[in-house]
């Protein structure tokens, strides 16, 4: 199974600031009532968008200037809470190809990597600079370069960090581990045969 090598992502950015943004907020539970991931994009930040609209403001996801954004920008501990893969799926199905945040909750980070959504981290000050630049010019092209470990935007740069295992997986096109896991079939038997609780119970 050949997977795309994800070395860099370029496109406009969109910021949803705040820390501890949980997956219930990214995709409210009622949108999980489905047997496929199709159409999840519409539910992205649904309640947060409505709340902003009710306050007479425009959420960036509903702001025409940010249409076509590919890079989502946020704060610390992004994606905490529920393990629902629906969260990164909704982000990806809305057109995003990368997230830049201060830090991530573990399961969210893993789920994202497995579907080829690059979650990179940057310093708070750099995220503030990036956010300001994107808000001043929504059309600004932001480049998340996984190889150079750098975010470029309008002549500015910022350092990005990412766990090596995830970065390598994206860059070398092996972010979805299923192929490699299947290749290990023989080695798996060697391990499972030593675990008595896995034996098929006698009928």
């Amino acid at each position: 199974m050949a997977l795309a090598k994800i070395t860099s992502i370029t496109g406009p950015g969109l910021a949803v600031p705040g820390n501890d943004i949980d997956t219930d907020r990214i995709i409210p539970a009622r949108f999980l009532k489905a047997i496929t991931f199709d159409g999840l994009g519409e539910g992205l930040f649904f309640d947060a968008r409505k709340a902003v609209a009710a306050a007479g403001q425009v959420h960036p996801l509903d702001d025409a200037r940010f249409r076509g954004a590919k890079i989502l920008i946020s704060g610390a501990n992004f994606g905490c809470g529920s393990s629902r893969e629906h969260a990164p799926q909704a982000i990806q199905k809305s057109g995003f190809r990368a997230v830049v945040a201060e830090s991530y909750a573990e399961i969210f980070f893993g789920n994202s990597t497995t579907i080829g959504l690059a979650c990179v981290s940057a310093d708070r000050a750099d995220i503030a600079r990036l956010t300001a630049a994107v808000e001043a010019n929504p059309a600004l092209e932001v480049t998340v370069d996984l190889v150079a470990r750098e975010i470029g935007f309008g002549g500015q740069t910022a350092k990005l960090t990412m766990r090596d295992s995830a970065r390598d997986a994206l860059v070398h096109g092996r972010w979805d581990p299923i192929g490699e896991l299947l290749e290990g079939a023989e080695a798996v038997v060697a391990t499972t045969s030593k675990l008595p609780y896995l034996a098929v119970p006698p009928k």
Partner: protein
């Protein structure tokens, strides 16, 4: 593996590690795979696309919990989306030969209740489920992991998954808990102390005198919420309490196999003097009955404290977090949490809907009444819990007090079923998450607390100190 003596995590890991992958992660055998209706249908579809079969159907167990209506469990469900989900689960299980504890089995319930009840959850094993509260099963001395749907696919297809090794933080709770202080308070207090992301990259090993005395159900309550503290995994070492719980369960070994299993399980426990990446010790006596006031499980205070004031904190982050939480929760900085009027009382969820939870509350609720204007519902976590409560007359105590007594399911924990908050209702809840909108209304508000505190709030009509309301002395 480090040099001996070893901790449980390292031993279970070593026993299940297949090989190192190119990413540096480990291919890890998952001995027990639990599935439910929300996160599995897409995984089965992926499997089909790849032309793959389920590798170990006999190690895969299913039940239905999130979408089940709790007033009447009968099919077809009135919600066509929910009905499509339960049908898909049934079809996938039948097609792949997977054991399915369905509504007619008498063994259905929240997946994290079903595994232990059936004796499927065992020490020294690896367990995965497409649900973050899988950490619950760690109470038995297992490495139990919440996973995403693509990983559900991986486990279905290969009985393995790719995982980076975790560090281990040993958390000792020593001494005694005070009267009216429960396992729920222990974990709410720990999350408050260590932070909602304090556990990132860690497995939490819980121990100390308080855990040694804890029942399996209390251990499950704590392990359940490990994930709310950012830890992927939480566990307690297996001991006599663990073995006594498992003895005689449907999937527990019997005869000579039982003795062999106990010997094996015992050997997985952390050895005296083993190394940890970090050790934290707290005193049980320092843990108060705890209530959350904010929008994440770390925003908790003692029932006797006042709601935090952003003006009192120096940290910019904390200030912003308090301001945001207070605005959403419509609570006043500096006001006592006690006395905050509630609209709904929910006693349920995989954190606190076990027999011991209902038993303990019934002890105090008998002869008391839910305050007028409070909607109170009690939802057993499994059909078995519901049945045991009925046999013991516990359901009657709740009904007579004015609680609505329901059938098993996730219910108002996340509202993928008809049980939901309406508008900005304030709910005293024994569940595990107080995120914005978690209980089904985009403006609904949740206060997390122990089951007895939920009952106290239901009776008082406002957040109350259960020790006062019920005269709890121990």
């Amino acid at each position: 593996m480090r040099t001996p003596p070893h901790n449980l995590f390292d031993k279970v890991w070593a026993a299940h590690a297949v090989r190192e992958l190119a990413s540096g992660q480990t291919q890890l055998v998952i001995g027990t795979h639990l599935i439910h209706e929300v996160t599995s249908p897409q995984a089965f579809a992926m499997l089909k696309d790849l032309g793959l079969k389920v590798a170990m159907p006999h190690r895969t167990f299913a039940t239905v919990d999130h979408i089940v209506p709790t007033d009447r469990q009968t099919e077809p469900f009135s919600d066509p989306l929910a009905d499509a989900m339960i049908k898909a689960l049934r079809k996938n299980c039948a097609e792949h030969g997977i054991t399915y504890f369905d509504l007619a089995s008498g063994r259905q319930g929240i997946v994290h209740m079903v595994g232990p009840e059936q004796g499927i959850t065992q020490p020294g094993t690896t367990i995965a489920c497409g649900d973050s509260h899988t950490s619950t099963h760690g109470a038995f001395g297992a490495i139990a992991l919440g996973i995403g749907t693509s990983q559900v696919r991986d486990v279905l297809a290969t009985q393995t998954m790719a995982l980076g090794r975790l560090k281990v933080r040993r958390i000792n709770v020593e001494g005694q808990l005070g009267p009216g202080v429960y396992a729920k308070d222990v974990i709410l207090h720990l999350i408050r102390t260590l932070g909602v992301n304090g556990g990132t990259g860690y497995a939490y090993e819980y121990g100390g005198a308080v855990f040694d005395r804890f029942s399996m159900e209390e251990r499950m309550t704590v392990c359940n919420m490990s994930i709310e503290g950012g830890a992927r995994v939480g566990y307690v070492n297996p001991d006599e309490t663990t073995f006594a719980y498992l003895k005689g369960r449907p999937y527990s070994p019997t005869g000579a196999a039982w003795d062999e299993a106990v010997a094996r399980w015992r050997a997985f426990a952390s050895e005296p003097g083993c190394a940890y990446d970090e050790v934290v010790t707290i005193q049980g006596a320092d843990i108060p009955p705890t209530v959350t006031w904010g929008i994440n499980p770390g925003q908790g205070i003692s029932i006797t404290e006042t709601i935090p004031d952003p003006a009192q904190t120096k940290s910019v982050d904390e200030k912003a977090a308090i301001v945001e939480a207070l605005a959403y929760m419509k609570l006043t900085a500096g006001a006592p949490i006690k006395g905050t009027k509630i609209d709904v009382a929910f006693l349920g969820s995989c954190t606190n809907a076990r027999l011991s939870d209902f038993k303990e509350v019934a002890k105090y609720l008998k002869g008391r009444r839910v305050s007028p204007g409070v909607k109170a519902i009690a939802v057993p976590g499994s059909q078995i819990v519901g049945k045991l409560c009925a046999e013991l007359g516990i359901d009657r105590v709740f009904r007579e007090a004015g609680f609505d007594w329901r059938e098993a399911g996730c219910s108002m924990c996340l509202a993928m079923n008809p049980d939901k908050l309406v508008g900005d209702q304030l709910c005293a809840s024994s569940s595990n998450r107080n995120f914005k909108g978690r209980q089904g209304s985009p403006t609904g508000r949740t206060l997390l607390m122990s089951p007895l505190m939920v009952a106290a709030a239901a009776v008082a009509g406002s957040v109350a100190d259960a020790r006062e309301v019920f005269g709890v002395k121990n």
